[in-house]
Symmetry: C2
Subunit: 317 residues, 2 copies
């Protein structure tokens, strides 16, 4: 593994977010679910248009569309082609999906930052969001009451000379000991839609083995975080705010164990639940809008995703 | 759109390929389909192990796994996490999916070449392949008799000083006027597996509108190819061989119209049919093994994919 990293002098020029229009309340907490006639494409487009507006850009300024989503909208084509049809029909803008499930937005920022740094692309529109409600199991209360449908987007561009914005360090690891701790076994090539039957209905629902995930994280995450901080040469005290994946209520248990005490990280699980790939960019966008994150602040984006994949990214916003 | 590109001094250190074990013959041409008990994971693993062996490497040398596949194996997690479980369990190697459907391998080469060029990763294992047979419509003869299940893989590394290998130019465009000309509408968030019924069964099958695709390509492809060649500063005569996506028998109609006469491009459609994302790397791997492509040869990888996405990549192998 290459340890040293070039800093990528990029910035999120604008961000946007959108929530599904349907509301359900579980134990006093609201979850947002697509209402009749609404699709994730509507939410993703809304978030992307807000991001472009904040950046003072339009689609003509974008030279790549990346869907960083954790689940497919259709089996074919890729999600980004369907977003392209909504927002960029008639243009040549390339469209692709980059997927590491819940941390897809961080992975996409990471990967595309190199293409921008090299001059290949000037502005990449990255969209995240999933239709969590399409596969929730009413029999699995823990996950059924946890997820919301939402979307968030950001426009990644080269920072201007003199601007502090940069991605200074990023690392991703996958620990496939946890590959089946968070999954939807059915619906893809291994267990096609046509195989759905009464006996295997559970295989087509989202299935989260919370305790197993927590155990794997407890065993692996502390060292991962220490290694990243050491490699990056950054101390926790230098980080203005941590934006973790809003995985579950366990956030307030896990983050202090990783050395981030309450108040140093964003926790919006009570407000929105887990929005899969949208969680990180949604929380980042909201924090910027509320003034909690300002230009030049050192922000840590991190999270665990189905896989089990972990992402860690230090960014000067 | 940034026109000039830095050359990425990378090479495919090894490649491998694998065919499904079941054979079906349509009008004298063999198509390969998964046999009972076989999954795409078996084929992808076989292709990847061959690629690593040819490169003289093992998983310990790989620092990123990318599944460049056109369809999901499960709805969650990403395909690369499932390959990781097969080949890299117990390691920290990051795993991610990059998807532009049929041209995913070219897109993944393109994107990851920048991460290698910058020193972020030293060796990226890229795997392609799809379970085409899972969603073929027996009522749509054209596509039902066209597809095979297969996999192919390559290990992308930094070229050594003095080696000629490089990616000198790549471009991708998406023309979403064709977003619904090649699709599987069902199985994802827009039309979940649970919505499958007798009335909408067709929506869960692969659906290819061949004539519409050919019309869109006839209108757009010639200019795209001319633009790419001009931007790259390369003449057709300098290209040793073209490896196109093995989309259909129409290859021998389309390629000459793009200025590539028979014999200057690989056409293995009769032998294998269309293998979705595996087609390009499979044909590239076979051509290398048969001595038709040698180190330093200027090779053009190109193709159209559902989206409609087109990819063009000039590589010194």
């Amino acid at each position: 593994m290459t340890k040293g990293q070039i800093s990528r002098h990029v910035k999120l020029a604008g961000m946007g977010r959108a929530l599904a229009g349907g509301e359900t309340v579980f134990a006093g907490e609201t979850r947002y679910r697509l209402k009749a006639g609404e699709t994730l494409l509507d939410l993703a487009e809304e978030a992307a248009r807000k991001a472009l507006a904040e950046a003072g850009m339009d689609m003509g300024d974008v030279d790549c569309i990346v869907c960083a989503m954790g689940t497919p909208l259709q089996a074919i084509p890729c999600n980004a082609a369907l977003i392209h049809e909504r927002m960029a029909r008639g243009t040549d803008i390339p469209a692709m999906d980059i997927n590491t499930t819940c941390t897809s937005f961080i992975s996409a920022l990471d990967v595309m930052s190199y293409m921008i740094e090299s001059g290949r692309y000037r502005a990449v529109l990255i969209l995240s969001g999933d239709t969590a409600s399409a596969a929730l199991n009413p029999g699995q209360k823990e996950s059924y009451e946890l997820f919301s449908d939402g979307a968030a987007a950001g426009v990644l561009v080269k920072a201007e000379p003199g601007e502090a914005s940069e991605i200074l360090y990023a690392r991703q690891c996958t620990w496939s000991e946890g590959a089946h701790d968070t999954e939807i076994r059915g619906g893809g090539g291994l267990l096609p839609a046509f195989s759905l039957a009464d006996e295997n209905r559970e295989d087509y629902y989202f299935d989260m083995k919370g305790i197993r995930i927590l155990r794997l994280c407890a065993r692996k995450l502390p060292k991962f975080v220490e290694d990243c901080l050491r490699e990056a040469g950054v101390a926790r005290e230098e980080i203005q705010i941590v934006v973790p994946h809003q995985a579950s209520k366990a956030l307030d248990t896990i983050m202090p164990r990783l050395g981030f005490r309450e108040g140093t990280y964003i926790n919006r699980v009570a407000a929105y639940g887990n929005m899969v790939s949208a969680s990180v960019p949604f929380a980042l966008c909201e924090s910027v809008q509320e003034g909690r994150i300002r230009r030049g602040d050192l922000v840590l984006l991190m999270g665990t995703a189905a896989g089990l994949t972990v992402n860690f990214m230090l960014m000067r916003y």
